[in-house]
Subunit: 391 residues, 2 copies
């Protein structure tokens, strides 16, 4: 056999900074970051902001402009883009196009920066635009929701939807830095504040029993928006997420995706709800389903399942009728096939054998899913007092 | 400073196979490749063919279908896509969309394959579609032109054009394998056959003087389409190209791009000609310009320059009037700024101090470029007899 061979390694390295008041002119974190970046020429930074965030923080644009008037390590592109938040941004190709066009018009080159400030959907969208323009522009993530700060924003994926299919187009493109500013969390509504807790419960359920116990113990504080508790939750969840990515298969070439616990149905539930439920809410419903499936599969005790459903139900409406599986043609079951395609043919589903101990299976029985869905819908009726934990 | 840190390496590895009659059913190369790939589930392969190639090889579709009826390591997707060849494919978003749609319709997952068969532009386009669909579908390249077999097809880049700007959208996404089938070269017209020689001269000029001498010595044979000479040229050029990629900066995070010798003006020349000149022809013109610039910059002797221009002029019309720079507003000079942006702010231009010895500079003087362009346009008049080499 006549051939040449090519092989090389690409190293990725970035920091996730935790700060408060990132754009306060006396906060040097961002300026120091840009000063520390190697570059001969004057670089530019294009900011793209989440419209929902701007509504809640009307002074944000002014603050960013003022910051870069004081700190001149990079040149702020005069036009600050504002794009719709949530899945709307990822569904509309014109929004992606508007970012690409700004890269062209403002001459953003591959050693300049695109900074995304917003929730997970905006970070996904902007990260994708940055990944494909000029074969990759340096990308800064400034996540502003709990979910983005503890999960999607610190990871390596981006994407947009195509014909309603979530993240059908995207790439694995690590950011050059992530800035988690806790001040942004103060303006979140309760629903968004809680949504991000879902991914923390997820990572606790599959690999960190002590963290699950911690969340149970701090549930009341989290519901009451105690910021110290939320800071701990975000940082611990982000750390687990980062460790998971780097220790296994960062660009997901294999089929194993334990961090996708509960996600096969979550993606479909979001779509079936026309994205009226948030990703975090959908993941909570999906975890309820797959935890209950674990019971019927004979691997998880009912006592442990009740503990899980109780915690989920504290923060989320897990008995939302969308979870109902009436027969084998139920729309939610299509999610299994779509997830299989997205993973690459070989289905990998995480089930639980204990709180904090996930494992993988490669098929799901739809009849058992039907039973699991019925169990969850009845859960409300025999719910414990939500202030009582089995601890 | 409060932060978490993330770092990991991604390893890329692929082979470039050399064969003849890839789709002959008794050629086991492709079947063995698929059999050797790890996968539990039955995988699919979607073929995308270059329309120009299909015109020249009307039996190709039938041959591919017949091959996978005999060899069933993967399932051939029944629809074989045929897309326009050349820059037309990269300029038209609808062509990209048609590939994405096929991925969706035929349920191509991330462990399945998209195989591109054609010239460099089709490989760029299909490689880009494969890179972004499902965050990256395994991509096979089957280059069918000299240029694609010795240069672009064996590398790691893909891309499409945006508003006429070459490769404005794209990514660095190594293929899983490349199959160079020499039979495809037989159906090329003379112009395409020669075009690919340009990149071989390029790599010889910047790093391999012995290879330059070899090309001079085999110029007549190459002009007469001697296949043994062409096979050597392709394989040697591909090897140099691969070594260059793996030894330096595969995903071009720095500014150094010595393999882009002659390319700043080549990209612009292609665009100014409305893509009526080929990439190889444009690169030849660009190399003539930057070699002559090296003379005026005082780093290359006129004797060596004449040797270079003589070889280039054997294969290419380097005195094409498009190379004319009449004043500092000449359109070709805009190519410098566009190249600077594409590189990332810091201009890196390769000049020659000898045949086989390139080096980098970070600016170009437009007045000197004007002189260089005039020198080339007069070159025809004092051209040597093309059969006489200064050896």
């Amino acid at each position: 056999m006549d051939y040449l061979e090519q092989s090389f390694n690409i190293r990725y390295h970035y920091k996730i900074f935790f700060t408060e008041g990132l754009f306060d002119s006396d906060n040097l974190l961002l300026a120091d970051f840009f000063n520390g970046e190697s570059s001969a020429a004057q670089k530019k930074v294009l900011f793209v902001l989440d419209a929902g965030l701007v509504d809640a923080n009307p002074a944000l644009e002014t603050a960013i402009t003022a910051y870069f008037q004081v700190h001149r390590a990079v040149e702020l592109v005069s036009e600050i883009l504002i794009v719709p938040g949530g899945e709307a941004a990822k569904n509309n190709p014109a929004v992606l196009e508007s970012i690409i066009e700004a890269v062209d018009v403002h001459g953003i080159d591959r050693h300049s920066y695109i900074a995304a400030v917003g929730g997970g959907a905006v970070l996904d969208l902007v990260g994708y635009a940055a990944a494909i323009a000029h074969r990759g522009i340096r990308h800064l993530r400034i996540p502003t929701t709990v979910l983005a700060q503890n999960d999607s924003g610190v990871g390596v994926k981006n994407g947009v939807n195509y014909k309603g299919k979530k993240n059908f187009l995207g790439s694995f493109s690590p950011p050059v830095a992530v800035f988690n500013d806790k001040q942004f969390l103060l303006t979140l509504n309760n629903r968004d504040f809680r949504s991000g807790i879902s991914e923390a419960i997820k990572v606790a359920l599959i690999k960190d029993p002590a963290f699950f116990t911690w969340i149970e113990a701090h549930a009341s504080k989290l519901l009451n928006r105690d910021m110290e508790s939320m800071e701990y939750l975000i940082k611990h969840c982000a750390r687990l997420h980062l460790e998971h990515i780097s220790s296994l298969d960062p660009f997901e070439r294999g089929s194993s995706r334990p961090l996708d616990f509960g996600h096969w149905s979550a993606h479909k539930l979001e779509q079936l709800s026309n994205f009226s439920i948030t990703h975090g809410e959908a993941v909570a419903m999906g975890m309820a389903l797959d935890s209950t499936y674990s019971l019927y599969a004979g691997v998880l005790s009912e006592e442990k399942l009740q503990r899980i459903l109780n915690l989920l139900a504290l923060f989320f409406d897990i008995t939302n009728p969308l979870i109902r599986i009436t027969d084998l043609n139920a729309p939610i079951l299509q999610g299994l096939q779509e997830f299989r395609e997205h993973l690459g043919g070989n289905l990998c589903i995480t089930l639980l054998r204990d709180v904090g101990e996930g494992f993988e299976v490669h098929e799901m029985d739809p009849h058992t899913l039907l039973q699991a869905s019925q169990y969850i819908l009845q859960f409300k009726k025999r719910q414990f007092d939500t202030n009582t934990f089995p601890l």
